[in-house]
């Protein structure tokens, strides 16, 4: 029923070839993993620097290599050819380089993204080709991986956070804060789109349902809460007990989380579709394995578990989408199809401005904004500016006694009054309108019956 592959079965690279004699490290740290969008390939990163790409169909190892630095997160870019790893250099104290690196499928280091800083989590927005990262100072960076342009970098003010997730429905990045709020960000604004107070303690994990309506958050106070994103209120849809460091939704809406103290997995399911989740399956692993990451494999009924001793995959019936669409993600892609789909997805690359909370707004017309009236300060400033202009005018010097000082001052006063007159006329007009409105409202006030005899009737012409 289970198919477990542990890392020890995969041969380690020849560490002697790196010129260093080190003992075989069975304990290469808790593993984090990522799948490509078709579910065919998996990238694995161990905390102690072990990076590998595995072909999940044939269970064959494509490439594995040691980077000799702490690896915190691994994420695939648009296909299996490229992946990014968030590394921290531990070798040299002077050279504290903590940057994400982009690697090729062959293990060649392609780019070192220095602007991102000491990255804790990486996420890739597939439609926009944006690599989003959060570093330990709480800075959020968005980089376009097609041309390498940094689209946005913001100081979120959150502090150090480990919980970062992309909502696949609309492309916003959700960050969980140590104060219990979840904030949602887009690359074109320095202020968050939304802030939700979710938990009483720090938020440890966030997960989004693929249809974009449900969000699951896990807090350190051992609660998992489910929120409806269309109708955000104070109360979550459901609160479940659980101490989860990682959460994930499958394509069919199953929720995977940890149970107890870290070595067993719980899968929850809503049977009737009314968004109440109940336990579906539990899976206990060897005691002592600390689960680092849970991730469902797309288009398969498989849950990948990255833990402290390696990675495992278990079968969960009903988790994956059985019918894939060739034009979206093809698990049986040939290299020719992969090349074509890369070009098509580049042509359809969305600009970063299209990320918004409600993606259906694109293509609709903006409602017309009423013209705003100028404030009092602006009006006064306008009058002053006009008067200044008039004062700066130099009057022509007339001869034959026509340029007496008294006449000149009178002329100047006239010019200033003329300059002010349009503003004053506008003010009077507005006052008149306001007065008319007031009159209308006053007319409808009814007098009490006892006072009717004192009401003076208007003379009708």
């Amino acid at each position: 029923m289970l198919s477990t592959f542990s890392v020890s079965r995969i041969l380690f690279p020849n560490i002697q070839s790196l010129g260093i004699l080190t003992p075989k490290l069975l304990n290469l740290g808790p593993y984090t993993l990522d799948f490509t969008s078709s579910g065919r390939h998996m990238a694995v990163g161990g905390r102690k620097g072990h990076l590998a790409i595995v072909d999940m169909k044939t269970m064959g190892l494509i490439k594995e290599f040691q980077v000799r630095e702490t690896v915190r997160d691994v994420v695939f870019l648009h296909n299996d050819l490229f992946f990014a790893a968030a590394q921290k250099s531990m070798a040299n104290i002077l050279m504290t380089g903590r940057y994400p690196y982009i690697y090729n499928r062959d293990g060649t280091e392609l780019h070192c993204l220095k602007e991102h800083g000491a990255v804790l989590r990486l996420q890739f927005l597939k439609n926009h080709f944006l690599l989003a990262s959060i570093n330990n100072f709480g800075q959020l960076h968005y980089q376009d991986v097609t041309m390498g342009e940094m689209v946005g970098s913001y100081r979120t003010g959150i502090g150090r956070t480990d919980a970062m997730q992309v909502n696949p429905y609309n492309g916003v990045v959700a960050l969980g804060q140590s104060l219990g709020t979840v904030s949602m960000w887009k690359p074109t604004s320095s202020a968050p789109l939304l802030r939700l107070l979710c938990h009483k303690g720090p938020v440890s994990a966030i997960a989004f349902h693929p249809n974009g309506h449900l969000m699951a958050t896990a807090g350190k106070e051992r609660k998992i809460k489910l929120w409806d994103l269309r109708k955000l209120g104070d109360e979550p849809l459901q609160t479940l007990p659980g101490n989860a460091k990682t959460l994930d939704f499958s394509q069919k809406g199953l929720l995977a989380c940890q149970l107890g103290n870290g070595s067993s997995v719980q899968i929850l399911r809503d049977l009737d579709g009314n968004q109440t989740y109940k336990t579906y399956m539990n899976h206990g692993m060897v005691k002592g394995f600390q689960i680092e990451k849970l991730l469902f494999r797309p288009y398969e009924d498989v849950l990948g578990i990255g833990h402290s001793m390696g990675w495992s995959s278990i079968l969960i019936p009903g988790a994956g989408e059985p019918n894939f669409d060739t034009l979206v993600a093809n698990p049986f892609e040939t290299s020719k199809q992969r090349r074509e789909s890369e070009v098509h997805s580049l042509l359809d690359k969305l600009p970063a401005e299209t990320i918004m909370l409600d993606p259906a707004k694109i293509g609709t017309l903006k409602p017309e904004r009423k013209k705003e009236k100028p404030t009092k300060q602006e009006k006064v400033a306008g009058i002053e500016a006009a008067v200044e202009v008039v004062k700066a005018i130099k009057l022509k010097k007339k001869t034959k006694g026509r340029s007496k000082p008294s006449k000149r001052t009178i002329k100047k006063k006239e010019l200033i009054a003329k300059a002010k007159s349009p503003f004053l006329a506008q003010e009077m007009k507005e006052e008149e309108q306001v007065a008319r409105k007031k009159q209308k409202t006053i007319e409808y006030v009814e007098t009490p019956t006892s006072l009717l005899r004192f009401v003076r009737k208007k003379a009708t012409a």
Partner: protein, 451 residues
């Protein structure tokens, strides 16, 4: 224990032999594809840009005439041929595919002012300033053969001399009668050397005559007293007439809706009329900056092409006030005649610089045989572009045309003038008693009198 999980066998999803086609599987569930609207919008933008990249409307020029081209005629039975007549009396038959002269009809002593072909394609009628009407038999075999060695000149079948110079000629549909416009409107028969009937309404020259394609006895004419008149041949007298502010240079009936016709006017506008109701135009098409010389409808009846004195050709939709497309070249001078090809894909223009030019009617159309996949792709691009073409970014790309500087400046000036007239009218209205100033719509303003 049996567990039901997804299991796919590679046989179904991969191809066996290299010459097999790859199978494509579809799942239209919206939750596996995200942000569809944004992707569609990006695709619409790309489609609009691609349209502009592939917009190469000019196909070729046909040289050979030695004087400016005054009139053209298209043969309803042969798509490939077109006749052109020039100001020095030379008439040529061109083959549009190879863009070469296939036949010559020498004989006219002065400018050829009108050309028309009979409905069966056998007889070409031409008239000119030398007061003659000549009938030629069209050599059908020449249109099929393309050898340059054969003798291309033809002798006229008949030559009828009359009293006044002629300005235009048109052939009746499915008959052997044709009408000429000169001092008045004359109805001729192929076999008679004098006109059967003559109409006169007013004393000014008739500038253009056109028979109605749907009702063969109805004839529309325009004269230099700024009038447009309708004649009915069965009744033996002219039916109705109205006078506009400026002269109409050319008229064309809508082949799909024969009750409507469009008149190309001297004041750089085209006016579409319903022939039953002459009091007001149904649509005013404004974009030219100088007199519109000629007009022709597409066989679909959905758009028409106009050639103007301002050296440009414009294609208008039949019910829209502004152009869909504009074509211009540095080498093309005043355009005197335009024709829409009978299959609706090409536009031919004859101009002052003695050349006929062949243009595509859809500038970014891919010519030739298209694979079904290519066809589908083009249709998809069209559809997605039309869905979002009202949004500002895409509208900007779709609408943009490079105009030659004189046209651009003249257009701007006209707009400014109209704007200032409008503002003045508004101020007049604002400062007079409400209801005392009544503004007539533009469609009525240009018509002075209806008789």
């Amino acid at each position: 224990m049996k567990v039901k999980v997804i299991s796919r066998s590679a046989d179904e999803f991969t191809k066996e032999r290299s010459q097999d086609l790859q199978r494509v599987f579809r799942n239209f569930d919206p939750s596996i594809r995200t942000q569809e609207k944004a992707v569609e919008y990006v695709r619409a933008q790309n489609a609009a840009k691609l349209d502009k990249i592939f917009a190469r409307p000019f196909v070729g020029a046909m040289e050979g005439h030695i004087d400016s081209i005054s009139c053209m005629a298209k043969n309803p039975n042969h798509l490939i041929g077109i006749f052109s007549g020039s100001m020095d009396g030379e008439i040529r038959l061109w083959d549009l595919a190879s863009r070469r002269t296939v036949g010559r009809f020498p004989g006219h002593k002065g400018a050829v002012q009108g050309l028309t072909v009979s409905t069966d394609g056998r007889v070409l009628v031409s008239c000119g300033t030398d007061s003659t009407v000549r009938l030629w038999s069209v050599p059908v075999s020449n249109l099929l053969k393309e050898d340059a060695s054969s003798d291309k000149s033809a002798q006229p079948r008949e030559t009828y001399v009359w009293k006044n110079a002629f300005r235009s000629v048109d052939h009746q549909w499915n008959s052997d009668r044709f009408a000429t416009g000169g001092a008045g409107v004359d109805i001729w028969n192929h076999n008679r050397s004098a006109p059967e009937q003559s109409y006169q309404w007013g004393t000014d020259t008739v500038v253009s005559v056109r028979f109605n394609p749907g009702e063969p006895h109805i004839l529309a004419t325009s004269a230099s007293d700024r009038s447009i008149a309708l004649y009915d041949l069965r009744m033996g007298k002219p039916t109705s007439k109205f006078i506009m502010r400026t002269r109409t240079n050319s008229i064309c009936w809508n082949p799909m809706e024969p009750i409507n016709f469009t008149a190309a006017n001297e004041d750089s506008n085209c006016y579409s009329f319903d022939c039953r109701k002459f009091g007001e135009a149904t649509c005013v098409h404004m974009d030219h900056v100088s007199a519109v010389m000629d007009i022709d409808y597409s066989p679909t009846g959905r758009e028409f092409v106009t050639g103007s004195y301002d050296r440009t050709i414009m294609i208008f939709p039949y019910n829209a006030g502004h152009k869909r497309e504009i074509y211009h070249t540095k080498r093309m001078q005043r355009v005197f005649c335009v024709k829409y090809s009978c299959d609706g894909s090409y536009v031919i223009s004859g101009s002052d610089d003695t050349n006929l030019r062949l243009w595509k009617s859809k500038a970014s159309e891919q010519l030739g045989v298209l694979l079904p996949r290519e066809q589908k792709k083009h249709e998809y691009h069209e559809a997605v572009k039309n869905r979002y073409k009202h949004l500002p970014e895409i509208k900007r790309i779709v609408r943009h045309r490079h105009l030659p500087k004189p046209i651009y400046k003249a257009g701007k000036q006209i707009r400014e003038q109209n704007e200032s007239q409008r503002k003045k009218q508004e101020k007049r209205k604002a400062h007079s008693a409400p209801g005392s100033i009544v503004e007539e719509p533009l469609r009525k303003r240009k018509i002075i009198k209806v008789e």
